[in-house]
């Protein structure tokens, strides 16, 4: 079955040289595509998790009684929300990457402690995290004082009130915006190509650089894969949103 599909595409490449689906019948290219896909998924998952953590921590810090703490968080948000993520990636990798120490595993090569993948994760997480801080903060602000008072009057302390009442509510309220932002983040991972992170876009671009006949085939795959990836994410998030909806509130 698989064999016959591969044969069909090998045949197609011979008869129609502009439609060379090389990644279907050449195991080396298949591996590149799968590696790229895997890297895109890793990048997305790690950045999503880190950006959510940054968002929660930032939102809690914004409630700090200390003015300078709030100003630092505000400065961070402004910087990252307000500049193109592409330039952020360049800035992090090339400009700040200069100043991180490197080590030498074999005595010959100098390997920086933070690789380009590492910088992509840091930069993209901070980019999406800046939006998440605002989102979570609005969520926390949406929980009225009187609800906190009610849990206090039931004998809960501040921590218990946050864990059992404020944060679950804030999370549910923020979820639609959070999902929107995370979808945007997954789309932005493509920009990691600028610092040569071998994610899906990078791999597909290098395949058609190596095999110019595979150009159309790579473009088709590029378009479809991202539509499918983002589509799955959007559908999954929407389901989750519906499941987490607070019954009786909101349209």
């Amino acid at each position: 079955m698989l064999q016959s599909i591969q044969d069909y595409f090998r045949q197609l490449a011979e008869t129609n040289p502009s439609w060379n689906f090389i990644y279907i019948y050449d195991p080396v290219q298949t591996a590149r595509v799968l590696d790229g896909l895997w890297m895109t998924i890793i990048l997305s998952v790690v950045c999503v998790i880190l950006s959510v953590v940054i968002g929660v921590v930032g939102a809690l810090l914004q409630g700090s009684p200390r003015r300078w703490v709030r100003s630092v968080v505000q400065g961070y948000i402004q910087f990252f929300r307000n500049t193109p993520p592409l330039i952020q990636l360049l800035f992090f990798y090339f400009a700040l990457g200069q100043f991180t120490p490197s080590y030498s595993p074999d005595g010959w090569l100098e390997v920086p402690i933070i690789s380009n993948v590492g910088w992509a994760i840091i930069s993209l997480s901070f980019f999406a995290g800046a939006f998440n801080v605002e989102i979570f903060r609005s969520g926390i602000e949406a929980v009225p004082e009187s609800t906190k008072e009610a849990s206090e009057s039931l004998g809960m302390n501040r921590l218990q009130t946050y864990i059992y009442v404020v944060l679950p509510l804030a999370f549910r309220v923020s979820l639609p915006s959070l999902n929107n932002n995370l979808v945007n983040l997954v789309k932005t991972t493509t920009q990691a190509i600028v610092i040569a992170v071998p994610e899906l876009l990078y791999q597909l671009v290098s395949i058609y650089n190596d095999y110019s006949t595979a150009q159309n085939a790579c473009m088709v795959l590029m378009f479809l894969v991202y539509i499918v990836l983002v589509g799955i994410l959007v559908l999954g998030m929407n389901r989750w949103e519906r499941g987490m909806r607070i019954p009786g509130y909101g349209a």
Binding site: S146, E152, S153, G155, Y164, G248
Partner: protein, 251 residues
């Protein structure tokens, strides 16, 4: 602790010369009141007269500036106050219900005993189901607050407070936000409680209810108690001109 000295013969809630200001605005100007075990006390008065602030002080939701409030011998105006100990004894129901919108009616009732008192789940659930029955909401156990009417939500809120097995219940204008047709179901629930011997302190505008259920009525105006007495004499033989004027306006 002072608590051990308290006997049921002494006032359960005893306020002496309570003062409370918000900024320049003095809301309570020396309020004193004794409530015995099993009493049902109604506090009435024009809006802005400080009655809500007063009962929030009993629960330590608002700290008082001077004077003393003792609940079963425990001083509320104490910097080292054990709020958990106080709130185990004092239940509070709010005008705006303040149910946790992300939890079902049953979960709302079970939350505090499980999280604060760390009681076993089975036991708490049995008790919660009994309380649901008591407030006549059988069948609504799994409804979310947003799916309940105001009167139903308020009865869940009463059950939620009762689940902590308090000795005193505070009701802060619990019917003020309700539709006229649902006010009665809530009042009936409170009357049943009072008849069972629960100590209740109500801030209310329901004069009919006050006359029928309360055994003592306090009239407050501009931060002081103007007049008080049992309903029979209070409603018919009020002495103070301010009381007379207030009663003439609403009766």
């Amino acid at each position: 602790m002072a608590e051990s000295k308290w006997t049921p013969k002494e006032p359960m809630v005893s306020a002496k010369d309570v003062h409370k200001s918000f900024g320049d605005l003095e809301v309570l100007k020396g309020v004193s009141m004794d409530v015995m075990k099993g009493d049902c006390v109604c506090v009435i008065g024009p809006s802005g007269s400080g009655k809500s602030t007063y009962i929030r002080c009993i629960n330590a939701l608002n700290p008082i500036d001077s004077g003393s409030i003792e609940v079963e011998g425990q001083e509320v105006n104490d910097p080292h106050l054990d709020k958990l100990e106080l709130r185990k004894k004092v239940g509070m129901v709010f005008q705006q219900y303040n149910l946790f919108p992300h939890k079902t009616a049953l979960e709302n009732i079970m939350m505090a005993p499980m999280r604060v008192l760390k009681e076993p789940k089975d036991e708490v659930e049995t008790r919660a189901r009994e309380l649901i029955k008591k407030v006549r909401l059988e069948g609504k156990e799994d409804s979310f607050p947003g799916e309940l009417s105001g009167g139903q939500q308020q009865r869940v809120a009463i059950a939620r407070s009762l689940a902590m097995r308090p000795d005193v219940m505070l009701f802060d204008e619990v019917t003020a936000a309700l539709d006229p047709e649902t006010v009665k179901e809530v009042l009936v629930t409170i009357r049943d409680l009072a008849e069972e011997g629960m100590t209740c302190i109500l801030v209310t505008h329901e004069m009919g209810f006050a006359r029928e259920v309360a055994n003592h009525i306090y009239f407050t105006d501009r931060g002081v108690i103007v007049e008080h007495g049992p309903p029979k004499t209070f409603f018919t033989k009020a002495k103070d001109p301010r009381t007379k004027e207030f009663l003439s306006q609403i009766l």
